[in-house]
């Protein structure tokens, strides 16, 4: 199924002017609130069987035995897939042809390299039988001691961090900068492992027909998933059809196809019938990525006026023993604050965990909470207001590279958010404010930033004889509203009202829309859509302006405007013609156009491209009981053109609440003896509940960016976490005078 609305499911859109910029409600809202949106696990092709994963209890070692007989003897169990009978693959799951090909556990052997690694798959008539079958396998292991924690193994400097950036970077002489400073600070912060935990677990329904494969599964990157699966099974990519109309959240964990999803495909192959496999919540803690823990040390020097003379930011992080992903936390210090000398470095240890992966603002989130805390400490050491200190060190060019910014309305963000929050009346010293109930009250701030990234995408547009339009691209709606925002861009690109455009996405047989990640989906696929629309309109304009019978004859391509299903003469809007009439005269049933979205290499070289924001937080801390409550959050963000303010605000809210979660709630707690995570469920792995976020405001700051892309779009998906976590932390300090350096901040840290 692709994303399509039936006739009576069309929500009434009221709007004025063009579609872009309008606060339309989500086009999939009706389906979601009525429970009719069909997610991957809602599919039941005829003859489908259920698969359950058996996962390892241990962190490291070998599976010595599995009681396959017992499982098979269980009523309803059809087959048990182990390394012994797993269908052959065309590629080694441990091969790594490029940095974004992550190694998968696909029953290639008996080795265990992290807890909850797949060790067998039980396939049965019912989910219950499969689950019981998995329990009956009663694995026995040869156990090796688990390597756990930031000091759990020998440290080393990785070859690259994040998407492959250098682990160590510097400009200027940091030691000299520190030496010459009037004031210095040094502080070490620790952030915990976090797990994405989208509401929808990874799920797959796979069906083979000869060497053709049909899949329902949530994916943030359909074309990449298609390529990876095709490679593993040795079939042509076009033989793999993936439908992913809706994702119940992804946050990066559905960016790459995961091991368990491929096991669902293998299970279907083994039994020759469609198979459904859905991860249990606790199985989400291992094979589908996580945010690695970090320990970050920041050193800063300031001159007599509070100007930074040096920033040194070192981050230790962790990866798995068998693959490479390194949280680029220290890179946060590259872009925000001006300093003549900046040094960033990373080292890492390899642990018996699943491979960490991209998790919403990877590197930016972890780096930001440490950097913004350290900036706060530095401001205090200089006796300065934290906002004044940030303005004193405002970066007019990107600090690490010296490149000009393509646009940067951060000053406006600071101004508007501070004004709205009432920052001006903040006492400089901590522990000076109490509310009527005696709670210590604190105000803190943080700067938000996230790079404006673009990938590659394609789209196909069609204008039909009746003047309506079709726009197709394999874009992914993770709940963020992509389907709606893209339809808005499509409508404007085609010069049609939004209800005249049939927008299709969410399927791998559509043009490659790139990945819904890196906050780059709207910019990338949006540009492809925009360009596809423009290609159609250009052809249409050719037809009209070149034909004597048209009122637009002779206007030239540049001389016409497309709007509401008609072309108008720019210099005389009384002369116009409908799309349908132009096509009819030309005797065409439809015209097609294709468009691409990609970063512009020239502007890439010249400009630093980032979205920015400022977040202010108020917290209240019970002076005796240590309970911390966030009472107010105000953020202002500048991220280029806003396609849909309603959706953009939602992204900021969600990001900011995640920031609260980072500062105060989220943590995977590991049993150090076994290496197992002890709170692998949503009762114990805490994220904020409604009562934890009483008031969140996000202001949209106007920003025109002529360089990022023709639409001027940056990205809004991840930036909200950055800045916020630091703002909450700094507010806790301001309330109590206690400087949190270990996250999440807990009651015991406040008991003092």
């Amino acid at each position: 199924m692709t994303l399509e609305l039936g006739p009576n499911q069309q929500p009434a859109h009221t709007r004025h002017g063009s579609s872009i910029g309008q606060p339309l409600t989500r086009r999939d809202g009706f389906l979601k609130v009525t429970g009719t949106a069909r997610f991957a696990a809602d599919n039941h092709p005829p003859g489908m069987l259920y698969a359950a994963l058996a996962v390892s209890s241990i962190a490291r070692g070998r599976v010595v035995s599995l009681d396959v007989e017992a499982a098979k003897a269980h009523s309803g169990v059809v087959e048990v897939m182990t390394p012994l009978n797993r269908p052959a693959l065309a590629a080694d799951p441990d091969a790594k042809d490029h940095p974004f090909m992550f190694r998968l556990d696909l029953l290639q052997n008996d080795r265990v390299r992290y807890p909850n690694q797949s060790i067998a798959v039980v396939i049965a008539q019912t989910l219950e039988a499969a689950t019981e079958g998995a329990a009956l396998l009663s694995p026995r292991y040869e156990v090796l001691p688990a390597r756990v924690g930031l000091d759990g193994a020998e440290g080393f400097v990785p070859r690259g961090v994040g998407v492959g950036g250098p682990a160590v970077q510097q400009k200027g002489d940091v030691e000299a900068g520190l030496e010459s400073a009037r004031t210095r600070i040094e502080a070490t912060y620790e952030t915990p492992a976090q797990y994405h935990n989208a509401m929808e677990p990874h799920a797959i329904v796979a069906a083979w027909d000869g060497d053709r494969l049909s899949i329902d599964t949530p994916s943030q990157g359909l074309a990449m998933a298609q390529g990876r699966i095709a490679g593993l099974f040795g079939i042509a990519p076009q033989n793999v059809h993936i439908r992913s109309p809706f994702l119940g959240g992804g946050f990066g964990s559905k960016g790459m196809i995961s091991g368990p999803q491929v096991l669902g495909i293998l299970a279907a192959k083994l039994v020759g019938r469609p198979v459904k496999l859905v991860l249990r919540r606790e199985q989400m803690f291992g094979p589908v990525g996580h945010r690695a823990p970090t320990r970050q040390t920041l050193r800063m020097g300031m001159d007599g006026e509070g100007r930074l003379t040096a920033i040194s930011h070192h981050a230790r992080t962790t990866s798995s023993t068998f693959d490479d992903f390194f949280e680029p936390a220290a890179d946060a210090s590259h872009t925000l604050y001006a300093s003549p000398a900046i040094a960033t470095s990373h080292d890492a240890v390899r642990l018996d965990t699943g491979t960490p992966l991209f998790m919403r603002a990877p590197g930016e989130a972890t780096g930001s909470i440490a950097l913004e805390s350290a900036i706060d400490e530095a401001a205090h050491a200089c006796g300065m207001d934290p906002l004044e200190f940030r303005l004193r060190n405002y970066a007019e060019v990107e600090p690490m590279t010296g490149k000009p910014f393509s646009s940067k309305a951060l000053r406006e963000c600071y101004e508007q958010a501070a004004e709205r929050f009432g920052w001006a009346s903040r006492p400089l010293q901590p522990r000076r404010m109490r509310d009527a109930d005696g709670f210590l009250t604190g105000w803190g701030m943080g700067t938000a930033t996230f790079p404006a990234i673009m990938f590659q995408a394609e789209a196909r547009a069609v204008l039909r004889a009746d003047g309506s339009g079709l726009m197709e691209t394999g874009a992914q709606d993770m709940g963020q509203g992509a389907w709606t925002a893209f339809a808005q861009i499509a409508a404007d690109g085609l010069g049609l009202d939004i209800d005249q455009v049939d927008f299709r996405a969410g399927s791998s047989d559509l043009p490659n829309a790139g990945i819904a990640g890196g906050s780059g989906h709207t910019a990338t696929a949006g540009m492809a859509i925009h360009n596809a629309g423009a290609a159609v309109i250009a052809r249409l304009a050719d037809l009209a302006t070149g034909n004597e019978a048209s009122p637009l004859f002779g206007a030239g391509n540049e001389g016409v405007l497309a709007r509401g299903g008609r072309l108008y003469r720019r210099d005389d809007e009384s002369r116009s013609e409908s799309y349908a009439d132009i096509l009819a005269r030309a005797g065409l049933a439809e015209i097609e156009g294709r468009g691409k979205g990609a970063p512009d290499p020239a502007s890439q070289e010249t400009y630093a491209k980032h979205a920015h924001g400022a977040v202010f937080a108020e917290v209240k801390v019970d002076p005796d009981l240590g309970q911390i409550r966030v009472t107010r959050l105000v953020g202002a963000f500048a991220a280029g053109r806003v396609i849909n303010p309603r959706l953009v605000r939602s992204q900021y809210y969600g990001g900011m609440i995640w920031g609260v979660s980072f500062a105060l709630h989220e943590e995977a707690v590991t049993d150090r003896r076994s290496g197992r995570i002890q709170n692998a469920n949503l009762a114990d792995y805490h994220v904020p509940v409604n009562a934890d976020v009483p008031s969140v405001e996000a202001l949209l700051v106007h920003e025109d960016d002529p360089h990022v892309n023709a639409l001027g779009i940056k990205g809004v998906g991840e930036i909200g976490i950055t800045g916020t976590a630091g703002a909450v932390t700094n507010a806790v300090w301001h309330a109590t005078g206690v400087r949190p350096r270990r996250f999440p901040i807990r009651i015991e840290d406040m008991l003092g």
Binding site: S57, S75, G76, P115, T126, E128, A129, T131, E132, A135, D622, D624, L625, G626, Q627, I628, R629, L664, H665, V669, T670, D671, R672, R673, S674, R676, Q678, N679, A683, D684, H686, P688, V689, N690, A691, D692, P744, R746, I747, E748, L751
Partner: protein, 327 residues
């Protein structure tokens, strides 16, 4: 699939008889039991559904006290006007427990019988050692993740915390559990782990909770439940206190005081030492704080739960002082 029999009880007597059979378990709201069955801790052969039994969901309050049927839903108890009026601590304990959805399903009987949240107890497929599940198998928690474990009433065999809020309020006000004919003080109904942590309640096979009775008292009428936790809602207590206070006519001298602790002990924990130290004394912050320290006398920590020893007396003191201020 693991088959089990499902039986819908038609009378209390029938339910008791059915539940007396080996492998049988009572099913009320299911919010604890279904979870435990999913993670492999509970392996019932027969589920005896008691939710259709008539006459067990009543809430009756008069000047002598409150009688709450075992099948009364948590949500109803929390919202009941007379419970709020005469036993505010009970209402507050219940509405701060779990989530609105769970409170709408869960019953008072099931609530008392909820099991510990010790993560090792709840994970039999990965941790075989647990004396509560399997007597003599050892304790996986000791030396492991212990932030949520008890500091009071622990034994070498088990340090699991009793997580319920309601029972903490009940034990403060000398409530009794009705097991049909037989009645037990809540304090006696819950057992210390000692060498037999598998035995949590003084309930015998074939017995069933039919009601909870709370005697009226001036202290219960002036009472509160203070629950402290990292998250604002939907979290078990880091430490909690149910406190009731009665003052002499002079408005300052403590005539009666009830103190119980939650979130820190292996069973709902009555802190009589605090009560005794303050009864007959003038209610005064320093004296209250000093006496509250007695709440954790004999406490033993296991690393990460040390903070509970620090926190619990503060929670007690705050609750007493808050009640003292409320005229």
């Amino acid at each position: 699939m693991r088959d089990f029999a499902y039986l819908r009880a038609t009378s209390t007597e029938a339910a008791r008889q059915a539940a007396a059979l080996p492998g049988a378990m009572l099913l009320a709201g299911g919010t604890t039991l279904i979870d435990l069955a999913k993670c492999g801790v509970a392996e019932p052969e027969t589920l005896v559904d008691i939710t259709h039994l008539e006459g067990l969901d009543g809430i009756a309050v008069d000047e002598r006290g409150a009688m709450i049927g075992a099948l009364a839903r948590m949500g109803h108890v929390a919202d009941h006007a007379d419970i709020k009026g005469r036993f505010p601590a009970v209402s507050e304990a219940v509405w701060q427990a779990a989530s609105a959805q769970i409170r709408n399903m869960a019953t008072i009987g099931g609530n008392l019988m909820q099991r510990t949240r010790c993560p090792y107890f709840r994970d039999p497929s990965n941790f075989s050692a647990c004396n509560k599940r399997q007597p003599g198998s050892g304790c996986s928690a000791i030396g492991g993740v212990t932030r949520g474990h008890a500091v009071l009433g622990t034994s070498e065999a088990c340090i699991a915390m009793y997580p319920g809020d309601l029972a903490t309020a009940l034990v403060a006000f000398d409530a009794t559990v009705h097991l049909g004919e037989r009645q037990l003080l809540v304090d006696d109904f819950f057992l210390l782990p000692g060498a037999t942590p598998d035995k949590e309640h003084a309930i015998e096979p074939g017995e069933m909770i039919t009601a909870v009775e709370i005697p009226a008292s001036a202290a219960a009428r002036r009472s509160t439940y203070l629950k402290v936790r990292d998250r604002q809602s939907y979290e078990f207590a880091a430490a909690s206190a149910a406190v009731g206070l009665e003052l002499e006519p002079d408005g300052r001298t403590i005539r009666d005081l009830r103190v119980a602790l939650g979130g820190v002990a292996t069973k709902p924990w009555r802190a009589r030492a605090v009560e005794d130290a303050l009864k007959g004394k003038v209610l005064e912050p320093d004296a209250v704080r000093a006496a509250s320290l007695l709440a954790v006398e004999g406490a033993v920590d296991h690393g990460a739960n040390h903070y509970k020893i620090e926190l619990a007396p503060r929670v007690v003191a705050r609750a007493i002082l808050t009640l003292g201020e409320a005229a």
